[in-house]
Amino acid sequence: MKIGVMILEGPYQHQAVDSAYYFIQAAIARGHEIVGVFLYTDGVNNINKFINPPGERNISKRLSELGESGIDIVACTACSKFRGLRPDLKVEHVRQSGLGSLAEFLRAADRFVSFGD
């Protein structure tokens, strides 16, 4: 099955991005395809390359690794501007783009799953 994912909350404050990460891994392990991950509203904060939690899971690194494995990870450009997340602040293997990418993921997906409050 083709699955699209949206994440609406930032790192550490909320479990949304962690749940999404485990969901994506489980889906892939079962042979499903992730057509894309759209980071919306505070979700864009999850790809800040300066995230550095001593002794804890590194959320932006995890997302970068998912991106490196071939999953299209997109942070909303407008939301990034609102939050001062400049393009040079993001981790590798993720990109910034507009709501058109969300529309693309919606079109390509059989199911669409959102993680947030």
């Binding site: 699209g4 949206m6 609406l8 919306y40 509203t41 407008a78 507009g98 709501l99 058109g100 969300l102 529309a103 919606l106 079109r107 997906a109 059989d110 199911r111 669409f112 959102s114 947030g116 409050d117």
Partner: protein, 118 residues
């Protein structure tokens, strides 16, 4: 045409979700999708007439929804219980809506498949 359901569950002010739901609807409507907007729980307040959030330094959100018809968004569903629990009726709303009970909302969600909850 791909079917997408956008669900508004929260009050229009106090958090960014309603404003972003509106932006999402505008953003994906240009890609010619079959969009249904569902208002449930405090989300029904989004459609109340004469909103005035001036003191919050925000723009009123209710006025935008009737305009969505110009973008071919034509289906607006309101959960009837959420409306009546808040002492509201359809006369308080900025546009004509389809009233639905809980099981009809569930059926609509199932029917659309792709759901964006805000």
């Amino acid at each position: 045409m791909e079917k997408v359901l956008v669900m508004l569950r929260k009050a229009p002010y106090g958090s960014v979700y309603t404003a972003e739901a509106f932006r999402t609807i505008m953003g994906i409507a240009v890609f010619e999708m079959d969009i249904c907007v569902v208002f449930i729980d405090d989300g029904v307040y989004s459609l109340v007439k004469d909103q005035n959030p001036k003191k919050l330094d925000m723009k009123p959100l209710g006025d935008g929804f009737p305009m969505l018809k110009e973008f071919n968004v034509n289906r607006f569903v309101v959960h009837d219980e959420s409306l009546s629990e808040r002492g509201l009726t359809v006369d308080d709303l900025v546009l004509d809506v389809e009233l639905a009970n809980s099981s009809q909302v569930s059926e609509t969600v199932k029917n659309y498949g792709r759901v964006l909850p805000f």
